[in-house]
Every structure is written in C-alpha cells, then in structure tokens.
C-alpha cells in the first residue's frame, strides 16, 4: 500500500476526532455585546488607549451594519446577544517555561497532535497556540528573535511593539470593510503577530493553531503578518473545535503586508466542527483574509483546504499594488452532509505587470452546497496585468450542489484574463477501473479525489499536505455508496 493509502486506511473509520472538550478552568465575560464588554476585554488585556478607541469606533460602526445576505448560504442567524465574547484559560498571563502551563491545556494540544514542547516538536515549525480567546504558548520565540523575527501572540505584540500594531492594524482590512470585520475589530481577543525584518528568510514554518473550547463562545482572532523588504515566510494555520449542538461563531481577520521583493505564503487547513450528519451544530466560519502586495515584485500566496464548518464565508484576497507583484489562491473546499460553503478570492490588480493565479477545487457530497465566488478586478493603471482562473467542481452523489460565481472587472485594455470552469461527477468508470485493479471503492474515491486536488496539495508544506489528505479521507468516508 502506498503512504497515502495507509493514511487513508488509518483514518477512514473515524468521524470528527477533534470533537472532545477539555476541562480547563476558564474566565469568561457575560454573554452579549455592549461598550462595557469591549472595555472589559480591553482592560483584561491591559491595552493601550489607542486600541480601546479603535475597538469602540469599530463597535459603533458595526451597530450601523447588517449581516450580509448575498452569500449562497442559508443558516439560522446568529444571536449576537447570546455569544460570550471573551473566554480565557485561567493562568498566569505570561509563561516563562512550559512547566508553568496548565497540564490539562498541554494535554489538549498533545491530543490534537500539537506539541508545545520545543524539544519534542518536529524541527522547522514554530507554533502559536490559541485557545478560545487567548494565545497560550508560542514556541521558538527566542531562536526566531535572534534573526530579528517577531513571532508572538497579538496581545504581547500590543505591549511589546505598539508602534507596529498602530501602524498596520486595520491597514489591509479596515473595520469599515464588512459586518464581520467590524465585529472582529471591536471584540478580537488574541491571535498571532509576525514581523519578518528586511532581507530575512524565516528558517522555519510559523504556525498558529486555533481551538475553540468553551461552550457558547465566539472566537474572534486577529492575525497580522508583516514581511519587510526582501523577506520570506511560510505561515500555517490549523483549527478544530469540540462537537456541540449549538452553532459557534468564528469571525477572524487576517492581514498580510508584503513589501518590495517579499514573499508570504499562507496555508490553512480548516477543520472546524461541521455539525452532525443532520446539519445540527457546527461552526459558522465568517472570516476576512486579505493581503496587500505593497512593493514591487512582492508576492502573496494563499492555500486553503476547507473541510470543516457548518457554514463558510471566506475570500482570502490579494491587493496587487506593487508593480510586478504576484497573487495566488489555491483552494480545496469540501462539503458533505448539510455543510454550506461560499468561498473564493478577490484579486485586485492595481500595479503594472501584476499577475494572479486562482485554482479552486470544490468537492460536494451529501446534501451540501459548495459555491466558488471570485472577483478579478483590473484597475485602469494595471497595464499588462494577467490573471488565470481555474474553477473545478466535483460532485459526489446527486443531492448536492456546486455553484460558480466569477466576477470580472477589466478597466485596462492590455490585461489578459482567462477563466476556465468545469463541473464533473466522479466517474463510475473511474471507480470500476480502480476496482478492477484490486482497489476497494473507498480507496478508489480517495485516490481519485486526491488526484483531483493534487494541484492544490502540491502548494502545501509537506506536513500539511499529509494532514490535508487525511482530512479529505475522513471527510469523504461513506460519501459514495
């Protein structure tokens, strides 16, 4: 058996295996949202005045907004008065060593396969672990510091590098951007901050692992990545949540700034609890992710593998400001049972000779709905801009839906924009062909689907690619009869 097959075999008998809850002592804010709650959060985090003011401005703006109705998803609207906006494991605010970490907390991450112990950790990956509203541990901080790289929780960055936060927070995704971005700006609790100085290639993968634990909480994290001139970084993000009957809200914001000649690669394997097979429970994943290629020859590449969440609303985007800058979006979105995903990207070409590539692979099974929504905008000054988009949909079964909504706005005659789209059903012929060579139908489906996603998986760092394949196998188990 090949390596893939072993992985698949190992996991095909499992359902959502991250659905456990941990008994960690937590401190929570009362449910509901008002200015006092925001002050409470800000005070808890001992924040400088400018940040509190930022939050309050965002909150007041949010009150004027209504939830977007345009995505191709149907769900029970969130009652924003019932959500707990702040939940944190009770522990010392800063940890000097792993020994000071709540053993239950450490056990939680061990169970998730995320070791917070640097000695035991696979070399080459630094982790920031975020549980509910706060970051509990960032590994390899010291060794990264020697290179001038800042990698820490957002809260720590606020205290240690307020000038950077002040300069970049909201510079790519302003709080006025959309409903969820405004909400996030008002109540965000923690997340990761990363700064790569000029000319530095980050020697290891940086990663953030998000976990929702406390019932009834929303997770509103904020990630900010600044890659200074000529620097390089590869960033990974993973997420899981316990199985709960009620829906949980996750409304994150990720901002990336890529300066002249800098290169940022951001990979996500999203595995929030998708709800049970009847569509009960699951995480609402309403996320705004955007990067700006600020300088010439800069690059931002998004790769995402989306298998979890009850409802997904997410469009990692790139604003191509610098001349010759490059934006990429590679996505695999899998939906089954009653999951709904409306995901895609925006590529906004502003600079000259800018280039973007979009490869989106949707896989729908069960009663799920899977939509690709993408915008390619070529500005009037974006001479010789190029875009290539490829959107493929694969249907497993006949009760599911695949939709493609491409938007093109071209304001410069010299632009070259290509869009290809295909929809296919997994072929009985393909399955029979595999069967005839001795492969079971389940292995055949895994193999065919993995082959279909290969272009995207190839973009993922090794460790993540394996995880993505595993996830795909679990997700699709039993999807083809």
């Amino acid at each position: 058996m090949s390596e893939d097959q072993q992985i698949i075999d190992k996991v095909t008998s499992e359902e959502y295996k991250y659905g456990f809850t941990s008994d960690i002592e937590t401190e929570t804010a009362p449910p509901g949202l008002n200015e006092d709650i925001i002050r409470f959060i800000s005070e808890k985090k001992n924040e400088p005045q400018f940040l509190l003011e930022y939050r309050l401005k965002a909150y007041r703006h949010w009150l004027t907004l209504t939830e977007p109705e345009w995505p191709n998803v149907n769900y029970k609207k969130v009652d924003f008065d019932k959500i707990i906006y702040y939940a944190a494991p009770k522990q010392k605010p800063t940890l000097n060593s792993l020994d000071e970490l709540d053993p239950e907390l450490k056990a939680t991450f061990d169970k998730l396969g995320i070791s917070l112990d640097e000695q035991k950790r696979l070399a080459g990956v630094a982790v920031d672990a975020v549980i509910d509203s706060v970051s509990v541990k960032t590994t390899f901080r010291e060794s990264l510091k020697e290179l001038g790289i800042i990698f820490c929780s957002f809260s720590e960055a606020v205290h240690e590098h307020p000038e950077l936060i002040k300069k970049y927070l909201g510079s790519v995704v302003p709080y006025t951007d959309n409903f969820y971005a405004a909400l996030n700006a008002a109540v965000f609790s923690d997340g990761s901050f990363c700064y790569i100085p000029k000319g530095v290639r980050c020697p290891m993968e940086l990663s953030t692992y998000f976990r929702i634990n406390t019932a009834g909480t929303g997770q509103f994290e904020r990630t900010l990545i600044v890659a200074d001139e000529g620097s390089q970084v590869s960033y990974l993000e993973g997420c899981t949540a316990p199985m709960r009957d009620e829906n949980q809200l996750h409304a994150a914001v990720v901002e990336i700034i890529s300066m002249k000649d800098a290169n940022v690669k951001y990979s996500t394997v999203q595995n929030w609890y998708p709800g049970d097979k009847n569509g009960k429970g699951g995480v609402y994943n309403f996320v705004t992710k955007r990067g700006v290629c600020e300088g010439s020859n800069s690059k931002i590449s998004w790769t995402q593998v989306e298998t979890g969440s009850a409802v997904t609303w997410k469009y990692p985007s790139v604003i191509l400001k610098g001349d010759h800058s490059i934006g990429e979006f590679y996505s695999v979105a899998v939906t089954k049972n009653h999951q709904q995903a409306d995901t895609g990207t925006k590529m906004v070409h502003i600079g000259r000779n800018t280039k973007s590539t979009i490869v989106s692979k949707g896989i729908s099974a069960g009663f799920s709905q899977n939509s690709y929504r993408g915008l390619v905008r070529i500005g009037s000054k974006a001479t010789n801009a190029r875009n290539f988009s490829q959107c493929d949909s694969l249907l497993l079964g006949d009760q599911c839906g695949a939709h493609t909504f491409p938007y093109l706005e071209v304001n410069n005659q010299s632009a070259k924009v290509e869009h290809e789209a295909t929809t296919s059903k997994i072929g009985e012929d393909q399955i029979f062909y595999c069967n005839q060579r001795g492969l079971s139908t389940e292995d055949a489906v895994s193999m065919i689907v993995n082959g279909y996603c290969k272009e995207v998986f190839n973009q993922l760092p090794m460790e993540f690619a394996v995880e993505a394949q595993k996830l795909l196998a679990i997700t699709l188990e039993g999807s083809v009869g």
Partner: protein, 251 residues
C-alpha cells in the same frame, strides 16, 4: 481455470448474453470473435463484475470459486485482469502510485508482504521493458493525455505488473498501428505460462497472427455458435460473419 455455464446477462432490460458456455483451462489462449453487438465486450464486463450488467442466470467458476459472488475488487485480487477497450483516465494520480496501491492490495490479499518503494521500482523497470513503455508514462497521471496506443500498452504493462492468472483482453488491438500491435502481442506472449490463461476478444483476425490462440470461438447473439482452431479465424476473415448468422439461426 474458468468455467462459464449457461450465462445470461442483460443491461437496462436488454438481454445481451443468452446462455453462454465456455471453459478455459490453464495454459490456454482462447480467442473470442464475433460481429458488432454479439456480446463480446459484455462478456468481458460481466466477468470483471461491472455493476451496470445484471446476471440473470448461469454460473461462473473461477479457480474453483464462485466468481459471480465476488465484488469486482475481489475478482481482481483473485487474479482476474481485464485490459479495457477504453482505458479510463485518472487525473492527478500517477501511474506508478496507482499501480503500487494495486500491486500491494493484491499481495495483501495473498498474505504476501507489501513491496517497498525500492522493490516496486525494480519490478516496474523490469515490466516496462516488456512492453517497451516509455519511462515518462509511469510518472504521468493514469492514462491522462496518453495516445490511443500508449493507453493500450499501459494496459498490458499493468497486466504484467499485477501478474494475473486469467487475463481478458477486450479489443486491445483496436486503434493500434502495426508496431504497437506487435509490442502488445509480444508482451502477452512473454507473459504466457502454464498456470495462466488468456481470453482475447477481437474483431479482427490480425491480432491472432501475433498471439496464436489454442481455441477460437465465435460469439453471436450472446452465445457461442462455433468453436474451432486458429483456422476458424482465417475462415471468418475471408467469409465475414454473415454465414454464421444464418447457420446459427437455423440450428
């Protein structure tokens, strides 16, 4: 090796096989010829276990076991191989990876240890030479963008890798030029062995110049209407199938 008794099968209510009888012993090569629509490919599909076909009656013993009770993958693991008339493309899955999974599934079934990458590559190299397969075809996705001839050669290559005891070649000669035909036939001839059998389905006599059958059957309206030696194939080439049609209806 395989004994087919009174086999009848239909697709979408249309009866295609109509009380077919056939016995193929180990070490033999049987050719099955017949006009379009006589049921040649249906026979291959039914034996391989394609679900679209419904077996209405009859029994098939394969190596002493009830073939019709087995799933398609079990049949494959038991040593039945079908070289497809229209090989299927599997984008993104490399030929090598595909075959490694298949070889090891079959080995597992026979309680043999799985091949590691090194041994697998060695085996692949050896079998590639057999069908003069270009090395690049093993790293490319299964059949994707292969020419017609490459696809057929890839089928024979897969056959060599999986080492079946019974191989059914479903019009493997169709769409092949004479060089490719010779390569495919050479591959089959080299795999011929005392413990193996072949059923070669073909429309034309041409292939049988290269793969010499022990027995030739003529299929018409879902049953075997004539059985003979290699000479029967030559006779068919000369006279066509019409004389058999009249003969069989008068029986």
């Amino acid at each position: 090796m395989i004994t087919i008794k009174n086999l009848s099968a239909s697709i979408e209510g249309k009866k295609i096989l109509n009380g077919l009888n056939l016995e193929v012993k180990a070490g033999e090569i049987h050719a099955i010829m017949g006009p379009n629509g006589s049921g040649k490919s249906t026979l291959a599909s039914v034996l391989a276990g394609r679900e679209d076909y419904e077996v209405e009656s009859g029994e098939v013993l394969f190596n002493g076991k009830d073939l019709l009770e087995m799933s398609p993958e079990e049949r494959a693991r038991e040593g039945l191989f079908l070289a497809f008339q229209y090989p299927v493309e599997i984008p993104g899955v490399s030929n090598a990876n595909f075959l490694k999974s298949a070889v090891n599934e079959i080995r597992k079934h026979h309680q043999m240890p799985e091949l590691d990458s090194k041994d697998f590559l060695k085996l692949m190299k050896e079998k590639m030479q057999l069908v003069e397969l270009d090395k690049s075809l093993t790293t490319r996705a299964v059949n994707e963008g292969f020419s017609g001839g490459e696809k057929k050669r890839n089928e024979i290559f897969q056959m060599a890798m999986l080492n079946p005891i019974l191989a059914i070649l479903d019009e493997t000669d169709s769409g092949l030029d004479i060089d490719a035909l010779r390569i495919v036939a050479n591959g089959v001839n080299k795999l011929k062995a005392e413990n193996k059998a072949f059923i070669v389905i073909t429309h034309y006599q041409r292939l049988l110049d290269y793969i010499v059958p022990d027995v030739v059957h003529v299929l018409n309206k879902g049953r075997i209407v004539k059985t003979g030696t290699k000479e029967l194939a030559l006779e068919l080439e000369e006279k066509g199938y019409d004389w058999l049609k009249t003969e069989s209806t008068s029986v």
